[in-house]
């Protein structure tokens, strides 16, 4: 059985970051139209990421001597939820800040830390994560992209797909096979840091329903990598990938993906009046938001305490993405009332969010995978 999630609050020293962040966002974000802000952590703007970096808000959790702020996960939590709620375009640095930086800090060599971390903190090194392949989705252990040792380095062949922001990133941290065959499952997998400017790499952006290209296919043909492209231990890729999952799955990005739509709708209701059905739905969504946020904060508290609440994080992600997907689904009939003059920006925000919502429960582990993990946590398998 899983332990009860205690009520945990964000420490005051981390809450203290919030006013400055809100102030900065009030100045820099409202001019972006809502349908663009709805892109949330898929909205790319390198200049915006650099502006955050100038204020010391990238790499909050990375050590000071590598350019970070040396703060804890709660500081980053405050920053993240404000950025996401405002719909700030954070995609450029998002993955480096959330995953790649902490991964390099934890598993990298001192030389790798010295090279990458300051660049991440200055918004000069953007990362993507190479996991899925044409034949590898939820079954990540079946990875077929292969790196073979050669002349003191690696020769890489294969392809990654659905890689978020690969076309904008400087580096990819890829899960690849360095020994054995796909049948060996998670044995023989390693993580490599790939400089995406190297010869032999082709990046093909993939257009989505909303007309954006958030994702790309990345093909590797005899790409020669130096020995130090390996991050962590050879053969430990699976363990390293899993080590960060609780952080990735329990954060505010699993609750707030539809926040811009929700707030745009609220703004309109305040302006034009709210019928009873809308009022009730608003109350319901805010209640769900509050409970999810408390669960997410509680899991963060366990992470800060050095625990690895992977099952609890799965629980937050599944409930959180259900909430995110419910917002466009439940708003749609209310915005279809005959005779209403709904603001165009709100309708475009709905269109975008409704079109992208299927990805909310897919990215970072599918609903079925997460529910399987919860079932395992409950002793059912």
């Amino acid at each position: 059985m899983i332990g009860v999630l205690p009520l945990a609050a964000i420490p005051p020293e981390d809450e203290a970051l919030r006013p400055a962040i809100r102030e900065f966002l009030r100045e820099s974000v409202p001019q972006i139209p809502p349908e663009r802000r709805a892109r949330s952590w898929m909205g790319f703007d390198a200049g915006f990421s650099r502006a955050l970096a100038e204020r010391g808000w990238l790499g909050l959790t990375l050590p000071r001597d590598h350019g970070g702020a040396g703060r804890g996960a709660f500081a980053r939590y405050v920053l993240s939820e404000e950025l996401l709620a405002a719909g700030a375009p954070v995609a450029a640095h998002w993955i480096a800040d959330r995953q790649s930086g902490p991964l390099i800090q934890r598993f990298g060599t001192e030389a790798q830390r010295r090279f990458f971390l300051p660049r991440i903190c200055r918004a000069e090194a953007f990362f993507c994560i190479g996991m899925s392949e044409p034949n590898t989705g939820s079954d990540l252990a079946s990875v077929g992209t292969r790196a073979v040792r050669e002349d003191g380095g690696w020769r890489l062949n294969g392809a990654k797909i659905w890689t978020t922001n690969a076309q904008h990133a400087h580096y990819m941290i890829a899960l690849v096979r360095t020994s054995g065959a796909p049948g060996d499952r998670h044995k023989g997998l390693s993580q490599l840091i790939i400089d995406l400017g190297l010869p032999g790499i082709t990046i093909n952006p993939i257009r989505d329903l909303a007309g954006d290209a958030h994702f790309a296919e990345v093909v590797f043909e005899d790409v020669l990598l130096p020995a130090e492209a390996l991050i962590g231990e050879e053969g430990s890729g699976w363990m390293q990938v899993n080590a960060e999952l609780a952080f990735e799955r329990s954060g505010p990005e699993r609750v707030l993906s539809s926040a811009v739509l929700l707030d745009e709708w609220l703004r309109w209701l305040r302006q034009d009046g709210a019928p009873e059905a809308a009022t009730a739905l608003l109350g319901r969504l805010v209640a769900h938001l509050a409970v999810l946020r408390a669960m997410s904060v509680s899991v963060t508290g366990r992470l800060v305490a050095g625990e690895s609440p992977v099952v609890e994080a799965a629980l937050v992600k599944d409930l959180g993405t259900e909430f995110e997907q419910a917002i466009p689904a439940l708003l749609t009939p209310l915005l279809a009332e005959p005779g209403q003059a709904v603001p165009g920006g709100l309708m475009r925000t709905l269109a975008y969010t409704a079109a992208m919502a299927p990805s909310f429960s897919l990215r970072g582990g599918t609903r079925e995978i997460l529910r399987g993990m919860i079932a395992r946590g409950m002793g059912l398998r």
Partner: protein, 335 residues
């Protein structure tokens, strides 16, 4: 303190309100000795200030008692009485001995009461116009029986009783039901998981089927969310009885009510609908959930009320509103 209190409450209920002692009793019947033991343990005084002879806990401190009461489907209005005593103490009125229930107006004349048979010496607090009335049950006349498992509607002919100022008994009562529901969901989850592991069909435990696993994961999520909602509702930063916040209670009553509905459906399905009989604890537990959803405003009532609060706070986006009024707060330890 929390854990100590939780343990002593669970031990007491395990001894005196175990499922086998409740089997065959109506939802309104308490096993012998239970009320006396609860009074003896001081649970009913939990929310009364120390200055007034109580234990002086706030709702977060008293939550473990009601979670335990929910877990054992204790057939006594413990939350009602705890809150009524706290409300009476706030009004400077010394409470009558024994149980005091929170009555809900049923039209302009009558009132709906929770299960109470066998306690004719109990009292009721009833909001009426610009006052709250403290009325003896001995003088009440039954109007409708069994409006929910064990509940009934009563009327007082004499419009007497002791008059107290208006109190937010709706939110107070809703909090108690939230706590009991969150408590009841815990054994519902545990029993259902155990059943799925033990029950064999097609040559294997039904827990081995992915379709069943996925259902149980959803059940788990709702149980955890309900518990968190109950904890959030217990943060004593409001102006209501015992410091309850109407905003927090509103969010919790609707969230836990939704969880209760979905959870009961899954639990009954996985347990092969055997819970429609009185043979398994699920029957009494989900009956209690149903009664709790019907008391002190349902999901829709509180959703609309909370929605109006959000609309009326023009400075707040949804996250800011949730942080300001419904956030997890660091609790001072009451000891």
């Amino acid at each position: 303190m929390d854990e100590l209190l939780a343990r002593s409450a669970e031990e007491l209920f395990a001894r005196l309100a175990a499922p086998e002692r409740l089997r065959g009793l109506a939802p309104s019947e308490a096993p012998p000795g239970l009320l006396e033991a609860v009074e003896e343990a001081g649970f009913l005084q939990a929310l009364v200030p120390e200055a007034a002879g109580g234990i002086g806990l706030d709702p977060s401190g008293a939550l473990p008692i009601l979670l335990a009461a929910g877990r054992f489907a204790v057939p006594l209005p413990l939350g009602d009485t705890m809150l009524a005593r706290a409300a009476l103490a706030m009004a400077g009125v010394s409470p009558p001995p024994g149980l005091v229930v929170l009555a809900e107006p049923w039209g302009s004349e009558a009132a709906r009461l929770p299960p109470l048979a066998g306690a004719p010496d109990a009292w009721a607090l009833l909001p009426r116009g610009d006052a709250t009335l403290l009325l003896p049950l001995a003088e009440a006349e039954a109007v409708e029986a069994d409006t929910a498992p064990g509940s009934a509607v009563f009327r007082w002919h004499r419009s007497g009783g002791q008059r107290l100022p208006v109190l937010d008994l709706l939110a107070a009562g809703a909090w108690a039901e939230v706590a009991v529901m969150a408590g009841a969901l815990q054994p519902i989850l545990e029993d259902t998981v155990r059943h799925a592991q033990e029950r064999q069909q097609f040559g294997r435990p039904v827990a081995a089927f992915q379709a069943v696993q996925q259902q149980l994961s959803v059940l788990t999520e709702d149980v955890f969310a309900a518990r968190m909602a109950a904890q959030l509702a217990s943060v004593p930063d409001g102006a209501g009885v015992a410091g309850l916040s109407r905003m927090r209670v509103a969010a919790a009553k609707l969230r836990v009510g939704e969880a209760a509905q979905r959870a009961a459906g899954i639990a009954h399905a996985v347990q092969g609908a055997m819970g429609i009989t009185g043979e398994v604890p699920l029957h009494r537990l989900t009956g209690r959930l149903q009664a709790a959803r019907l008391r002190f405003g349902g999901e829709g009532y509180w959703a609309s009320w909370l929605g109006r609060q959000v609309l009326a706070d023009p400075a707040s986006d949804t996250l800011a509103f949730a942080r300001a009024h419904l956030g997890p707060a660091e609790l001072e330890t009451t000891s």
